[in-house]
Each structure stands twice: as structure tokens, then as C-alpha cells.
Amino acid sequence: MEQAVQYLFVGLVLIGGGMAALSRHVLYNIIGLGISLFGLAGLFLQLGSPFVAAMQLLIYLGGITVAIVFAMMLSIAMTLDPPPRTPVKTGFAAIAALTFGVGLHGLISTATFATAPPAPADAWAVAHIGSALLERYNLVFETLSVVLLLAIIGAILIARPDRTGKVA
């Protein structure tokens, strides 16, 4: 049963990733990304972290995907016919991605990874993440909040029309 659920999520990740990467229409790309993100959240759950899975669903699926949909609706990308593919470009992209994949697969199959005994169940509690964020990783946490603030200000500045009212 557990195994079947895992394969279901793996299938979602692969199907969604394929749709996101290979389809020519932007709307299908976004739907594929959403499916893939959902599958990944399920896999995070299987890997023992319900908190990260929930954040993946909330921030990625609920925030980022919706933001991309809005950008697609505000630009003309949805109504235009997708431009025809140039075989040369697609071919070179496929060659590059395949070369990268095969090379990395070689690395993975030759490497030996350290294994550790599974952590005790209470080590996965959300309380540990909270105290780690506020104690050991305090600096990272604060830096991330500054980065997010700057990103919001920058996004507003860049996306805003000219103050004179005319379109830049």
C-alpha cells in the first residue's frame, strides 16, 4: 500500500515534469508544473516531513503557481499561438539535457553514499524545526526575511508604470 502511494506520487512528478518541459503551450506548462509540485509534496510527506510538504503546497502550489498564472494572463502569452519550434534549437537543447543526465547518472551509480540509521520519530517534530530556525539558523532566517522584503520592493518598482502616467 505504502509502495503503491509512493509510485503514484512518482508518476505524478514525472508526468507533470514532462508536461511542464515538453508541451508547447504555456497553460499546459503551468498545469504540468502544478501536478509535479503536488507529487513532490506527496514525496516529501513520504520522506517523513509533513511540515515541508505543507509549505510546498502552500507556497509553491498556492503562491508561485498562481503568480505565474497571473503573469501569463497579464501578458499576451496565452492568446498567441505558440511560436513554431526550430529543430536545431530543440535538438541542441535535448542533446545538452541528455548529456547532463547521462553524465550525472554515471556519477550517481559510481558514488557510495553514507548511510545513517533512521532518526527517531520525535526528531522529525515541527517543534525542532521552529527552534532550529530561531537558534542555530537564526542568521539564515533573518537574511531570508530581508531578501524577501527587498524582492517585494524590487518587484513593485520594476513592474510599476512610470509615475508620469505614460507607458514607458
Binding site: 512518482v10 514525472l14 515534469g17 514532462g18 511542464a20 515538453l22 504555456v26 506548462n29 503551468i30 504540468g32 513532490l40 514525496l43 516529501f44 513520504q46 520522506l47 517523513g48 516531513s49 510546498q56 507556497i59 509553491y60 508561485i64 503568480a67 505565474i68 497571473f70 503573469a71 497579464l74 501578458s75 499576451i76 502569452a77 505558440p82 534549437k89 541542441f92 537543447a93 535535448a94 545538452a96 539535457a97 547532463f100 543526465g101 547518472h105 550517481i108 553514499f113 548511510t115 545513517a116 533512521p118 532518526a119 526528531a123 522529525w124 524545526i129 532550529a132 530556525l133 539564515v140 531570508l144 524577501l148 527587498l150 524582492a151 524590487g154 518587484a155 520594476i158 513592474a159 514607458a168
Partner: protein
């Protein structure tokens, strides 16, 4: 599933993202490729966190930071796309060649 199968899944996802970044002309599709690659990295970290680390907090914090940075990156990227569309009326990566030498 063991560590290697998670690594393989994340490898496939990263390669798909790389292909999307290189092959697509629409900037939004390129952004989606970048997101696929970031999620492949997150999956990698979570798998190592589960199978080869004794203290599972670090990997989870790492993935949370990645998610937060991805949100910031998407906000900037989308505002640049909107600005490009307003000024140039196109978001085709092959027509934005002002900086071509």
C-alpha cells in the same frame, strides 16, 4: 524506495528543467524550467536528509530556505516579464536582443 531511486527521479526532473530552459522561447516557460530544477534540488536534499543524516532538522531548514528564495526569485522574474511585455510587447526570448554584441 531507497536513496538511489530518489536521486534518479531528481536527476530526471533536473534534466527536464534544463531542457525547458534551453528549448523554450517564451520567458514564462523558461521560468517554469528553472522551477523544475529548483524542485529537483529540494528533492535531493530531502532524500539525503532521510537516508544519510542523523539529525533531520538541517535538511528540512535547507529546503524551507530554498522555497523562500524561489518565491523571491519568481516575484522579481515575473515583474521583469511584465515590464518587458509593457515596453516591448513581446516576451519571446529570441526577440530581446538589445544587448547582442
Amino acid at each position: 524506495m531507497n536513496l538511489e531511486s530518489f536521486l534518479l527521479l531528481s536527476l530526471v526532473l533536473f534534466s527536464l528543467g534544463l531542457f525547458a530552459v534551453l528549448a523554450h522561447r517564451n520567458l514564462i516557460a523558461v521560468l517554469i524550467g528553472v522551477e523544475l530544477m529548483m524542485n529537483a534540488a529540494s528533492l535531493n536534499l530531502m532524500a539525503f536528509n532521510r537516508f544519510s543524516v542523523t539529525d533531520p532538522v538541517t535538511g528540512q531548514v535547507f529546503v524551507l530556505i530554498i522555497i523562500g528564495l524561489a518565491a523571491a526569485e519568481v516575484a522579481i522574474f515575473l515583474s521583469i516579464i511584465l515590464n518587458l511585455y509593457r515596453t516591448r510587447r513581446t516576451i519571446d526570448a529570441e526577440q530581446l536582443t538589445e544587448l547582442k554584441g
